[in-house]
Amino acid sequence: MLSVLRKIFILTAVLTFHIAFVPALSAPMSLLNVVLVFLIFISVVYEFYHSLAYGLVMGLFLDLYSALPFGAMLLSLMITLYVVYKVFQHLLTNKSFYTLLGLTGLATIVYNLVLYFYLLLFYFVQTKDKELLVGLSVQKGHDFLWQLLLNLVFAALLFFVFNSISRKFKAVFIEAKRN
C-alpha cells in the first residue's frame, strides 16, 4: 500500500513539475524534458518494466495536456523507451554515469525525432506551406540542442543526488587479500 502511494506521489510530482512548473520558466530552461529524463533514469537504475509502466501512465496524462491529436506523446514515449531498452540490453553492460548520460542523450534524440516528424505532418496537413516547415525545422533544431544540453545536465544532477543517498550506482569490487 505504501509502495503504491509512493509511486502515485512520484508520478504526481514529476507530472506537475513537467506540465506546470517547467513550461513557465524563461527560455531556454522551459525546454527541459523532466518526464523523459525521469523515465530513462528509472530504466537505468531499476528494471525496464518500471519505466514502461510509468511511461504508459505519464504518456496518457501528457496527451490530456497536449493540443496535438491523442496519442502523440504516448507513442513518442513508447518508441523512445523501446529504442533505449534495445540499446541498453545489447550495447551497454553496466549501470554507470556514462550509461545514464548516453541513454539520456539517445532518448532525447529519438523522442524529438519522432515528435518532429509527427509535427511536420500535422503542420503540413494544416498549412501546405513548405517555407514554414523549413523555418520550423531550423527553430526546432535550435530548441533540440538546448533540450539535449538541459536534459544531460538534469540527468547528471539526478545521478549525483541519487548516488549520494543510494548504493545502486556504486561499483562493487572484489577485494583481494595478499597473504
Binding site: A20, P23, Y123
Partner: protein
C-alpha cells in the same frame, strides 16, 4: 532464450495496452477518467504555474546589459510620447464628449464572456499553446477569441475538453487571424504567427500607407471573432520597391509567457 521470450512478451503487452488505450479513448470509454484527471489536477497545476512564473521572473530572467539599456531607451521614448499624447488627449476628450452627446453616438456592444485561469502550457513543447481551466461544460467552442487580462486578444481556442481548453497563441505558426490596421485606408489583412516569436501581416499592397505604431485590431470577418478587438500595434514595416506586397510585424502589449487569467469571448450581444 528465456530472456528473449520475456522481452518479447513485454513488448507485445505494451503494444496491446497502447492499442487498447487508443481504442478506449476513441470510443469514449476513457472520457470520464480523463475528465476526472484534468478536473482534479487543474487547481494544483494553476498554483504551481503561478509559482513557477514568480520564480522565473524573480530569479531566472537573465537579460544582458545591452538589452536593459535598449529597453530603457525605448521606455523613455515611450514616456515622452505618452506625455505628448496625454496633453492632446485632454483637449480631445472634452471635444469628443461634446460630439458624442450631440450626435447621440453610443457604441453599445456587450460580450458574453467566460473568465478562465491558465493551468499550464502545451506538454509537447512544440506549439505555443496555453491550457485553461474552462471547457465545453462552460460553453467554450473551437475558434472563440481569447483576451488577456489587459483586454488584448492573445489567441483562439483550438481544442476543447469537458473542463479544459487549449488556446493557440497568436505567435504560433499555425495561428491565422483576419485583422484590420487602423490607418487611413483601414488596411485589411491576414496576421500569421512566426515561430512563437512574433506576428506578421503579409500581403499588404504597396499603395497602402502603414506606419509604425498603427493599431491592429480584429477585422470581424471571422465567424466567431468580433471586430475591433485590440491585438497590438505595428512594430516594423518591411517594404521592398521591387515587390508587390509589403509586410508589417505586429507587437502585442501582452507578454505571452506571463498570462494567468484569460477572458474568452463567447458571443456578442447587441
Amino acid at each position: 532464450m528465456l530472456y528473449l521470450r520475456k522481452s518479447s512478451r513485454l513488448i507485445i503487452l505494451t503494444v496491446v495496452i497502447v492499442g487498447l488505450l487508443f481504442f478506449l479513448h476513441f470510443i469514449g470509454v476513457l472520457r470520464p477518467i480523463e475528465n476526472f484527471a484534468v478536473w482534479s489536477s487543474k487547481s494544483i497545476f494553476h498554483s504551481v504555474y503561478k509559482a513557477s512564473n514568480f520564480v522565473s521572473e524573480r530569479f531566472l530572467d537573465f537579460k544582458s546589459k545591452q538589452d536593459l539599456i535598449k529597453e530603457n531607451q525605448e521606455l523613455n521614448q515611450r514616456i515622452n510620447k505618452l506625455l505628448k499624447d496625454k496633453s492632446s488627449c485632454l483637449v480631445a476628450e472634452d471635444e469628443n464628449e461634446f460630439l458624442r452627446q450631440q450626435l447621440d453616438f453610443v457604441q453599445d456592444r456587450e460580450f458574453d464572456f467566460e473568465i478562465a485561469r491558465v493551468i499550464g502550457k502545451n506538454t509537447d513543447k512544440t506549439q505555443n499553446v496555453l491550457i485553461i481551466d474552462k471547457g465545453g461544460k462552460s460553453g467554450l467552442e473551437v475558434g472563440l477569441p481569447v483576451l488577456a487580462e489587459q483586454g488584448n486578444m492573445i489567441g483562439k481556442i483550438i481544442k476543447v475538453r469537458e473542463n479544459s481548453a487549449f488556446v493557440l497563441l497568436l505567435n504560433d505558426d499555425l495561428s491565422r487571424v483576419a485583422v484590420k490596421i487602423e490607418n487611413k485606408s483601414r488596411t485589411m489583412g491576414l496576421m500569421e504567427g512566426e515561430f512563437g516569436l512574433g506576428m506578421k501581416i503579409k500581403l499588404i499592397p504597396q499603395i497602402e500607407e502603414v506606419k509604425k505604431e498603427d493599431l491592429v485590431v480584429t477585422s470581424g470577418l471571422e465567424a466567431k471573432v468580433p471586430g475591433n478587438l485590440i491585438i497590438g500595434s505595428v512594430h516594423e514595416v518591411s517594404s521592398e520597391p521591387e515587390r508587390l506586397f509589403k509586410t508589417a510585424s505586429v507587437k502585442s502589449q501582452v507578454d505571452f509567457s506571463k498570462i494567468f487569467l484569460v477572458n474568452v469571448i463567447k458571443n456578442e450581444i447587441k
